[in-house]
Amino acid sequence: MVGQSEVVIDVEPLIRVEGLGKSYGDFRALDHCSLQIHAGEIFGLLGPNGAGKTTLMRCLLGFVRPTSGQATIGGFDCWAQRTEAHAQLSYMPAQPQLPRLLRARDVLRFFAEVRPPQPPRGPSQKNQPPRLDSATKGGLTNASVRFERACQLADRLQLDLNRWVALMSTGMRQKLAIAATLCAETPLVFLDEPTANLDPDVRSQLLQELETLRANGTTVVFSSHVLSEIEQVCDRVAVLAKGKLVGISEMRQLQQGSVITGRLPAGTIWEPIGESMEWTAPDRFKWQSYRPLEDVLPGLLSLGVRDLKIETLGLLDVYHRHLAYHAGGEASDRSLHGKDDGT
């Protein structure tokens, strides 16, 4: 939902997904999904197991061919022009597997050298200024600089670069994959459950790296089951269930959201526009608001509210309400939903 004070972004989104669907036989893994992700956003993907998060990512990465709809990254079609699209992005899968018969250093060298000097600019990026890469020298990204950066990152993650990948633990391989992924400094990064096997220290280090990416203007698509992480780093979050996109919420709004309960004098007629209001008894209400409390409370107090109770609305509540709404259960907050095009 776009807030009133928000400036409407008038640039082409970095990722555009329109009616994307993917079926495996009769099973619909992804069903008419539409969303847009703008440059510089950290976008979270949430959903229960089998919701379609990975399928959506795999469609965007050109690993699977959509059965309907279209997805573009930087204007490049994710299936037909996937190589060009890949030049814009780096990706770390949920359980990264790296060549086992190589040493960690060789793996980092491979990922540093395999990229072209400078990613091609997509049709939707022609009018945008070139993105400055810290490893850019004279207009070309130097592979050796990229490798150096990967080594520095690996060093920060306390990784032994002389060790064979086959002899690494799952967590160490995850760290190596993080270093290999982030060394590219691409405009777009896909991270599929990146903190799954990491110890708390490295997890917080990674979240710090994400903050650095945000500061550099990198777009991150982040999938995780850990809601606190999503809450901490994401600007927007999409919830998927049974292959459908059931809601997109802005984290900033969620953070100022609250559930307000109380009693109003009998006969009071009051209906806040565009927000979820529920009368649990003739004089008792439950209101889910995403406005700042300082805007809400004076009005309520003027109506003579009693037994006022305010609870902060967390991502878990939103997540559950989205899923419940999709399942056809209790009434959900429609205001959480973005427009159909996901803006």
Binding site: T54, R58, L61, G62, F63, V64, R65, T83, E84, H86, A87, L89, S90, Y91, M92, P93, Q95, P96, Q97, L98, P99, R100, L101, L102, D106, R109, F110, F111, E113, V114, R115, P116, P119, A177, A180, T181, F190
Partner: protein
């Protein structure tokens, strides 16, 4: 982008390639050594004892097989040679798609700005280079053997008939044992048609393994599929050669086109067979030369590789398990 891919493939497979090359080289050296140990006369006696059914399986003239060159050329048809080539081709071919998929390494690889075609063809070219090196290793092993080994040869003392000047061996005399360098008995350059035929077979096996790999996500299943296909083809060849009414079955086996000893004998005895697709052999019968057979093998191999690349470029990549 090709360089890093080649380097990665090399680092992953160097021990396998090195092992196969050393084994191939050593086997051919050993083969020459074994030939040098066995007396030609005794070898001829052994061949004459073979029943006709077995003789029908050998397409090479026995007069050629009893020579040192002929006996060394049989080495190209040894199961060990085919096994080494099969190990390399099946391991590399199956690894191209299903191997990377089953290990889960394909995802991070293809998330890089590398086209699927490149991710397919760079390791494939490396595998083809390996096939070439293995075929060359067979020649190098033979050359090493010929250059370093001496053969035991028994000569009967001969008497020279006066006036005519002809020498006649005395059969009842005690033979004279002599050590003769193999390079005086064998010219290693005569074996190149065998090495070329081995290369062509390698390309076909690689194509077959690649095709199985392109369709599957499990490497063990791709390896199983290729292994069963190759075993069935070798059985088909034996059946086709043993029983004339089903000789047409030979067309169904790639091993029907793998006859290195025959091709070595053809080029050794008939220079017309060296650079032609066909020639007139014994009794002026039109005979296909080794080039025709090799082209068939290469055509099948390249066709399978092309098909595998098309499948790989269009298929969905399943998520790792």
């Amino acid at each position: 982008m090709i360089g890093p891919l080649l380097r990665k493939t090399w680092l992953e497979t160097r021990w396998l390639l090195g092992g196969c090359l050393v084994l191939m080289c050593f086997f051919f050296w050993l083969r020459v050594w074994l030939v040098s140990r066995l007396d030609s006369g005794r070898f001829q006696q052994i061949l004459e004892l073979l029943p006709n059914q077995i003789r029908s399986l050998v397409r090479v003239d026995f007069s050629f097989i009893v020579t040192h060159t002929g006996r060394v050329s049989i080495g190209f048809e040894e199961p060990m040679v085919m096994l080494i080539m099969a190990i390399w081709c099946i391991s590399r071919g199956s690894d191209l798609v299903s191997g990377e998929l089953s290990r889960g390494t394909m995802e991070m690889l293809l998330a890089q700005p590398i086209s699927r075609r490149r991710a397919f063809f760079v390791p494939l070219c490396y595998a083809l280079a390996g096939v070439t090196m293995l075929a060359m290793a067979s020649l190098i092993g033979t050359w090493l053997g010929v250059a370093t080994i001496q053969a035991n040869e028994a000569y009967y003392p001969a008497i020279t008939i006066p006036l005519i000047g002809t020498s006649v061996p005395i059969p009842f005399a005690k033979p004279i044992e002599m050590r003769v360098p193999m390079y005086e008995l064998v010219d290693w350059r005569a074996f190149w048609p065998g090495a070329v035929n081995l290369f062509a077979l390698g390309v076909t096996m690689l194509g077959l393994a690649t095709a199985f790999s392109a369709y599957d996500r499990y490497r063990w299943r791709a390896i199983g599929g290729v292994a069963i296909t190759l075993i069935l083809m070798s059985i088909v060849k034996v059946v086709a050669m043993s029983y004339a009414p089903v000789g047409w079955l030979g067309w169904l086996s790639i091993f029907s086109a793998f006859e290195p000893a025959l091709f070595i004998s053809q080029t050794s005895t008939n220079p017309a067979a060296t650079w032609r697709f066909y020639f007139f052999g014994k009794g002026d019968v039109l005979t296909m030369s080794h080039w025709t057979y090799n082209l068939v093998l290469l055509g099948i191999g390249i066709g399978l590789i092309w098909h595998a690349s098309r499948v790989f470029e269009r298929r969905d990549l399943p998520a790792p398990l």
